[in-house]
């Protein structure tokens, strides 16, 4: 969810909550004011009537005087003075509906020891109507206010967050192996400036660390070559001794194998770092299907010995601008891979269509996560001849030229597709 949507939703929640609460308070305050007024007028009326009864001992014509329902009764007994004000519902004769009234009921005794009661009922419907209308008006006002509030907030937030989105875009486009650090815009908001500063120094740090690491890898692989050459040459001289016994040759053989693997590993890592460093700039127009044909020709015997049949289907010639060394490595790694992971009497199918190269081979299912297939040191089984760099080199080359590579598997058929 977008930040602006989220804040807007929160604002709507809380303003509604606040408005509902204040609406209730408002409604009940008004209501209590209205009731107080009604009660006060009821008491005033009652006082006038009471005065008249007590002083003149007569019952006046109240209906004409006040327009309310007033009832006075005189009794022959005395009452203790008592006053009750309450809501009630009265059904007047000319109206079928029950109507709400505010009713005052008063009991008292005159000086002549005559008890009397006064009940005054004042209709509430008019006041209620007023209250309802006020409430509706208030509600409309509230809704209008919420709307204005959300819109203004959305607009302000959007304006305020612009530098943030700009920084986000820059960070998104940041590439670790780029030549320069990203440059962030200046903002007049202190926090965003601080954020940009942090991002800037962080990306610079990441970049320089990456470069250092890359250089270290490169230097390490480079420097390892010489001692490896020495070990290998000494070992080869050692092998020439005539009187080696079988224990010694077994030792020598495993040393030899280990040195070979180390060489291969080093060679692969060097190649990867060279591709990373874009040291394969020179390029020429090459023909992928021609390179494949040459490779198949070169390795014909090996492929035949493994009883693998190769089917090629070149629908279209793929001509590319590429470094010929990298193109050769790409093709050889792909085909070696499909030979290595083949089965006896299996097959390899290589086809080109438009700008797509598809290499599929039959083979056992992967025992590794297909997503890791193109990662370094992902190996199927523990084949000592494989160091687990082949396909990661393929991916490096493909990415270097901005092409895409995909892997598919179904019914024991592994397929690698490259879109040039």
């Amino acid at each position: 969810m977008k930040l602006l949507t989220k804040t807007s939703i929160y604002i709507v929640y809380f303003t509604i909550l606040a408005f509902v609460a204040s609406g209730f308070i408002f409604y009940y305050s008004i209501r209590s004011i209205v009731y107080k007024q009604i009660d006060a007028s009821l008491v005033t009326e009652k006082n006038i009537i009471q005065e008249q009864i007590e002083h003149t001992d007569t019952i006046p014509d109240f209906n004409a005087a006040f327009g309310h329902l007033i009832e006075v009764k005189v009794y022959d007994r005395t009452f203790k003075q008592k006053q009750i004000i309450k809501d009630t519902i009265i059904n007047t004769d000319n109206d079928e509906d029950d109507l709400p009234y505010r009713k005052l009921y008063f009991l008292s005794t005159t000086e002549h020891k005559k008890g009397y009661s006064i009940s005054i009922s004042q209709p509430l419907s008019e006041k209620k109507e007023l209250l309802e209308n006020t409430s509706i008006l208030l509600l409309i006002l509230f809704i209008f206010l919420i709307l204005i509030f959300v819109i203004v907030n959305y607009w302000i937030s959007r304006k305020l967050w612009i530098p943030f989105y700009k920084s986000l875009e820059i960070i998104d486009k940041f590439e670790i192996n780029s030549d320069s650090s990203p440059i962030f815009y200046k903002s007049d908001i202190k926090e965003f400036n601080k954020l940009n500063q942090v991002l800037e120094s962080m990306s610079e740090k990441i970049r320089s660390d990456y470069i250092n690491l890359k250089e270290f890898n490169e230097n390490a692989s480079h420097e390892v070559q010489t001692p490896l050459s020495i070990i290998r040459s000494k070992l080869e001289l050692f092998l020439q001794y005539e009187n080696l016994n079988s224990d010694q040759t077994i030792l020598l053989e495993s040393i030899n194998d280990a040195v070979s693997r180390l060489s291969k590993l080093n060679q692969g890592l060097l190649l990867i770092s060279k591709i990373d460093n874009q040291q394969f700039e020179s390029s020429e127009v090459i023909c992928i299907d021609q390179i494949i044909q040459n490779f198949l020709c070169e390795y014909e015997e090996i492929i035949q010995l493994k009883k693998i049949s190769v089917v090629t289907d070149f629908q279209s010639a793929i001509h590319l601008r590429m470094n010929p060394v990298l193109a050769g490595i790409l093709v050889s790694n792909l085909i070696s891979n499909s030979v290595r992971h083949n089965i006896e009497n299996g097959y390899i199918k290589i086809s080109t269509l438009k700008n797509t190269l598809t290499i599929s081979n039959i083979g056992n299912s992967l025992n590794i996560n297909p997503n890791q297939l193109f990662n370094r040191f992902t190996k199927r089984g523990s084949n000592p001849e494989s160091v687990g760099l082949g396909l990661s080199i393929v991916k490096k080359i493909v990415n270097y030229y901005g092409q895409s590579i995909n892997y598919e598997y179904s019914n024991s058929i592994h397929t690698i597709i490259i879109d040039f």
Partner: protein, 225 residues
């Protein structure tokens, strides 16, 4: 044959000269650019093994010096695995061949011999090993003067064996010689075995001699001893 080894890593120089001396070569050593420069101006060599990355100068400069002196010395350059440009530049300005480190001494030996044949005898040489005769120009093998039909790989294998006769060749050095060191195909060591089996059979059939000896665990040796 007189060989100059220009290489700054002493242990490596020792290995190379040790191996080549057993071939009966005369080896001279230059451990840096200056030594190499004075040696090539005073002497001529059949082959110069030249490391491009010298501490006090670029080996490519030495090739330029040799070429400007109209030297006929064969040049084999040694490059680091990752300097493809050095390799290409070296060949462009007149080196005969290149090897990338780390290399097999047997491979180096075979390359030197091949350079020697190409330079001194215009490639037109017959290599003899007892009753086996190889014409490297026609890429033809004769046993007792009758043609021995070999596949391309078998021919390369035989030439590699004879270039390194009486030496133990590891399976891996054979694989790398036959298919290059960039790609080692699946189970290629097995294929070496198959190729060797076929080659051995063909030689035995035509000459009654089995020159290819298996050195248990390590590899093979081509010898008549």
């Amino acid at each position: 044959m007189k060989v100059l080894i220009v290489e700054d890593e002493k242990p490596l120089v020792e290995s190379i000269s040790n191996y080549l001396k057993q071939e009966g070569y005369l080896c001279e050593i230059a451990l840096n650019f200056n030594q190499a420069e004075s040696k090539i101006s005073d002497n001529t060599y059949d082959c110069i093994i030249l490391d491009i990355g010298l501490p006090d100068g670029n080996g490519l400069e030495l090739i330029k010096v040799l070429k400007s002196n109209k030297s006929k010395d064969g040049i084999l350059i040694l490059t680091a695995k990752d300097s493809i440009s050095d390799k290409i530049n070296g060949l462009e300005i007149g080196a005969d061949d290149y090897l990338t480190k780390p290399f097999h001494l047997s491979e180096l030996n075979a390359r030197i011999k091949s350079i020697y044949r190409r330079r001194n005898l215009a490639g037109n040489i017959e290599i003899h090993f007892n009753e086996i005769k190889i014409n490297t120009e026609a890429k033809q093998v004769y046993v007792n003067d009758s043609v021995l039909n070999l596949t391309r790989k078998e021919y390369e294998l035989l030439l590699f064996f004879i270039s390194n006769k009486n030496r133990v060749l590891t399976k891996l050095s054979i694989v790398e010689h036959l298919w290059g060191d960039n790609v080692v195909m699946a189970d290629s060591l097995e294929f070496v075995y198959t190729h060797i089996k076929n080659l051995r059979k063909k030689i035995i059939e035509s000459s009654d001699n089995d020159y290819i000896k298996t050195v248990y665990g390590l590899g093979y040796k081509f010898t008549d001893q």
